[in-house]
Subunit: 236 residues, 2 copies
């Protein structure tokens, strides 16, 4: 038994693989999902299903009013989500409109509060810095820095047993993450990655494109239904 861990479950593929890694490491898992009035709120239903499939001890869906998070195309329907981008441009340079202000900073802060409250040793988060969408809060330097901040600014930190932020996918590519998930028999059919919250995944937003590329390279068909597939995707 490795103790207790808080696992951030977004409903997406990365946090799902991360959750199953935490489970494999023997943690008693307390799932945490955030409803921030995201356009793709549908992911929360998927987060619940994934938590259930992983047999989490408890699952909190925490509501964060979007009053502090406007200005992102994932929150404001008026701002358009980038579509049909060239894979080479995704993550290259500028921060896209899907960036939600300080999102992982907020999520990890609240997760740390929760971990202190339930006396958990770790918080698992599914961020990774390769094949990503150019979000600053998915980079190793951010994860290292927030760990330092937690060490200095929390009761457990000053008592010498800080809540540890665990990001086991940090240096993996999307393809490697999918391969890892396939080995662990992760229920990819329950995951939802598309930024649009429609019936089928759109197949054209950054998140769909990165996901399909990952499945393609892993040589395994994505079990989730799509409205359309990019021309380069052959595993339909």
């Amino acid at each position: 038994m490795s103790g207790r861990a808080v696992c951030l479950i977004s409903g997406g593929l990365d946090s799902c693989v991360t959750l199953f890694i935490a489970k494999e490491e023997g943690y008693e898992i307390h799932g945490l999902s955030f409803n921030y009035d995201q356009v793709h709120k549908k992911e929360i239903r998927h987060a619940r299903m994934i938590g259930k499939a992983a047999g989490v001890k408890n699952h909190v869906v925490y509501h964060l009013d979007k009053a502090l998070f406007h200005g992102s195309s994932l929150v404001d329907k008026e701002i358009s989500i980038p579509l049909n981008r060239d894979l080479k441009t995704i993550g290259g340079g500028s921060v896209p409109s899907t960036y939600v202000p300080a999102r992982n900073l907020v999520f990890l802060s609240l997760s740390t509060a929760y971990a202190e409250m339930i006396n958990a040793d770790a918080v698992f988060i599914g961020v990774h810095a390769t094949d990503y969408s150019g979000y600053p809060d998915c980079r190793p330097e951010f994860i290292e820095s927030i760990q330092q901040t937690i060490n200095k600014g929390t009761r457990r930190g000053v008592e010498g047993k800080p809540v540890m932020i665990k990001a086991p996918l940090l240096y993996l590519s999307k393809t490697e993450i999918i391969k890892k998930g396939l080995k662990m028999r992760v229920p990819f059919d329950l995951t939802w990655s598309c930024y649009k919250g429609e019936k089928k995944a759109c197949g054209v937003c950054d998140s769909c494109l990165l996901r399909l590329k990952g499945f393609q390279e892993a040589g395994y068909p994505d079990p989730v239904p799509y409205q359309s597939y990019p021309s380069w995707y052959i595993l339909k």
Copy 2:
């Protein structure tokens, strides 16, 4: 004109002085207060009055469900607030039961999100590391560290104009803070510091004791009514 700033307004004395410092520096001020179902929720009413008195441009009271913050005597009525402590023991060593898990980490994270959203340059917070209650998240090392984390994990950070965390009271004593406030004609009568949310301030919790000691040393009577005063307080 110094641009725009988010000011954390708790309703207490420190954040009130901080707010008037920000005002004096010429910022357009956007107040932010948190309702986390604290026992002394009364402070939020005071926060609103203070914001009004300072002429803030806008004031958001943000609700944070206490589902992630139990285990503090400021949130759970079942846990007792330390009373009648010797002034010398307050802040000396162990973290008191009034510690709220990762509170300033959560507050500053959400403030940073808000600042990015409204394009503010700074977040003002009234923490100070002397005459404090032993909270790890009031120390300079925490404030320095979260600034680093913000620099690395936000859009404005990677674009080279990070939201700056400003804690102008960080190295001041309570007495110095009160003297500073008196000079600026801060409306101390509108502030609420007591951890109990009763009609009059209790005069026995850590917060009342530190406040009364500050006024005593500043040689000015505290304008707020108390149920009782410690024996050493002479400016009744």
